[in-house]
């Protein structure tokens, strides 16, 4: 069994994308992006292959959309500039390409849940990511497949407020019992 075979199986389970990363550079072998509804299927594949769970965590991508837009705008502007310069160099009149600023609502920022799996026998660290919008951070639990995920999910809930649907006991683990704040969110203020 090797990473390529796992990759195929994961792809068959409904993952959005499965990328083989450069292990030496990144530290993990497979980078899998799944939609929340396909998460359980993907994890089941890993369970069947004998993977063990390393960690579950979250990442708050607050401001990512704004940054992305800024980036595309900057890119567009740069392109336009390049074009304009090229045109200028060619002695032509600059084409009237107005920088096309995207208007309208930004897409909502997302939270990302990251699952790390590894295998005891061979080296194939699989990272599964699933993204959900910040206003409705819900993702199915995998604690029925991996009981060890129970605590990891509780911790992630503590820190990011991600709700693991179907989790048997989603109460704060590291924070005080009555904590209702999620300190690792980027907009957290004590």
């Amino acid at each position: 069994m090797n990473c390529a075979a796992i990759k195929q199986k994961l792809a068959a389970s409904g993952a959005e994308s499965v990328i083989e990363t450069e292990y030496a550079r990144k530290g993990f072998a497979l980078d899998v992006q799944v939609a929340p509804e396909h998460l359980v299927a993907a994890v089941s594949v890993l369970d069947a292959e004998g993977f063990f769970i390393e960690a579950v965590t979250g990442v708050d991508w607050l401001g990512e959309q704004a940054a992305l837009r800024k980036e595309t705008e900057a890119k567009a502007a740069a392109e336009a500039k390049v074009k304009a310069e090229a045109a200028a160099a060619a002695g032509e009149e600059a084409p009237a390409v107005a920088v096309h600023a995207e208007q309208g609502e930004l897409p909502e920022d997302v939270l990302e849940a990251v699952y790390d799996f590894n295998h005891y026998e061979y080296l194939c660290r699989v990272t599964i990511r699933t993204r959900m919008v910040r206003s409705k951070p819900e993702v199915p639990t995998i604690s029925q497949i991996y009981p060890g995920a129970n605590w990891h999910e509780r911790e992630t809930h503590d820190f990011f407020g991600i709700i693991f649907v179907g989790h048997p006991y989603l109460v704060p683990l590291l924070l005080p019992e009555d904590a209702d704040y999620h300190p690792l969110l980027k907009d957290f203020r004590p």
């Binding site: 530290g27 390393e54 960690a55 590894n118 005891y120 605590w151 300190p183």
Partner: protein, 372 residues
């Protein structure tokens, strides 16, 4: 509801172990539901020493997070140093001089020995024996002296830097380390005679606290816990980092799955670590201990990176998400004992209280590392 109907359900009572309790090695709380002296349910309650390491990581520069790594697992601080600097080096593409890697391994392995010695003592203390603790501390002091002469501190080391280590060693250290190895090898038979072969200890640990290999997998247990269950998994062999591929050492694996197996794994690991230190001292190359071209302010390229190291308690992984700035965007610390402890609730069901505490001791808990 009649009184008769609830009779079976309410024959139990709740015993609160901790957060201040001698057996929990710190501030862990375990809510035990007991039926007499039998444990019906155990629920560890964490967070009593949650020190916000992950939040601090996002507030500090990459370099400023270094002292925190020494305070997560204060018993094997250097491995945590190692994990963190390795992931940042991987992210930023920093080459480490060979001598520095050797020093990292030497100090880290000595630190592992000291961690195991302390665990040994504390474990026997849990079981009620007091003197072995102090004998172990006696040996441990020698390691601490050695490490202090290199790093300047006794416990919460902050020795590794991006691209190398902070200080070079001197000849005294090499002599001292060799002398220590000789000394500890001479002491190990004493430990085995005094403790391992003791009938009381054997009765307490044999066939107590079974953790199956499947359970290890489901809970993600690593380190001596999974090696005591017959799983040959050691990050140093599994995904070799630093100079471990060049070292000749074995990974002790025991199949019995009980507390005794975990005990034996750690005792054997002491010997293996001594072997590694010995080899590393033999092969120690000359050269600088710090890479030349380490930028003053580190800004790893965008993306996320992972690096795992083997600490005394298992696989410690750091996942960093960089947004290209001088602070980490997200810093996830995957601590081994967190996973190891998570199986405790299932493992100690139906056990007697003293056995459950022996099992807890055999998991080798360092609470600040669990709570982070």
């Amino acid at each position: 509801m009649s009184a008769f109907a609830e009779s079976e359900a309410k024959e139990t009572f709740v015993l609160n172990l901790g957060p201040q309790h001698p057996a929990t090695h710190g501030v862990l709380r375990v809510k035990l539901t007991m039926d007499g002296e039998y444990i019906v349910e155990a629920e560890p309650v964490l967070g009593y020493i949650h020190r916000m390491h992950e939040k601090m990581g996002e507030n500090r520069t990459w370099a400023q997070f270094l002292p925190n790594t020494g305070r997560m697992d204060y018993l094997h601080a250097l491995a945590f140093n190692h994990g963190y600097v390795s992931v940042v080096e991987r992210a930023a593409g920093i080459e480490v001089p060979e001598r520095a890697e050797y020093l990292r391994v030497i100090t880290s392995e000595l630190n592992r020995v000291s961690s195991h010695l302390l665990w040994f003592g504390a474990f026997i203390l849990d079981l009620g024996g007091f003197s072995p603790l102090l004998y172990a501390f006696d040996d441990r002091e020698h390691i601490l002296d050695l490490l202090e002469s290199v790093t300047g501190s006794r416990l919460t080391y902050c020795y590794f830097r991006f691209g190398g280590v902070y200080n070079d060693i001197d000849g005294d250290f090499v002599v001292g380390a060799r002398a220590f190895i000789k000394r500890l090898r001479g002491r190990m038979p004493m430990y085995h005679n005094l403790v391992t072969k003791n009938i009381i200890l054997m009765k307490r640990l044999r066939e107590v606290g079974p953790i199956s290999a499947e359970m290890c997998r489901k809970y993600g247990a690593t380190g001596p816990v999974c090696r005591g269950s017959g799983i040959n998994f050691d990050v140093r062999k599994h995904e070799p980092y630093s100079i471990y591929p060049e070292m000749d050492f074995e990974v002790p694996v025991y199949e019995q799955c009980d507390s005794m197996a975990r005990y034996m794994v750690r005792m054997d690991e002491i010997e293996q670590s001594l072997r590694i230190v010995e080899q590393a001292l033999d092969k120690l190359p000359e050269g600088p201990v710090m890479a030349d071209k380490v930028p003053k302010i580190i800004k790893p390229p965008k993306g996320d990176y992972y690096h795992a190291v083997e600490t005394a308690r298992g696989s410690f992984g750091v996942r960093v998400v960089s947004d290209g700035s001088n602070t980490p965007y997200r810093l996830k610390l995957r601590s081994p004992t967190y996973s190891n402890l998570s199986l405790y609730g299932e493992a100690c069901q139906g056990m007697l209280l003293p056995d459950a505490l022996a099992l807890m001791g055999s998991l080798d808990l360092v609470i600040p590392e669990i709570d982070r």
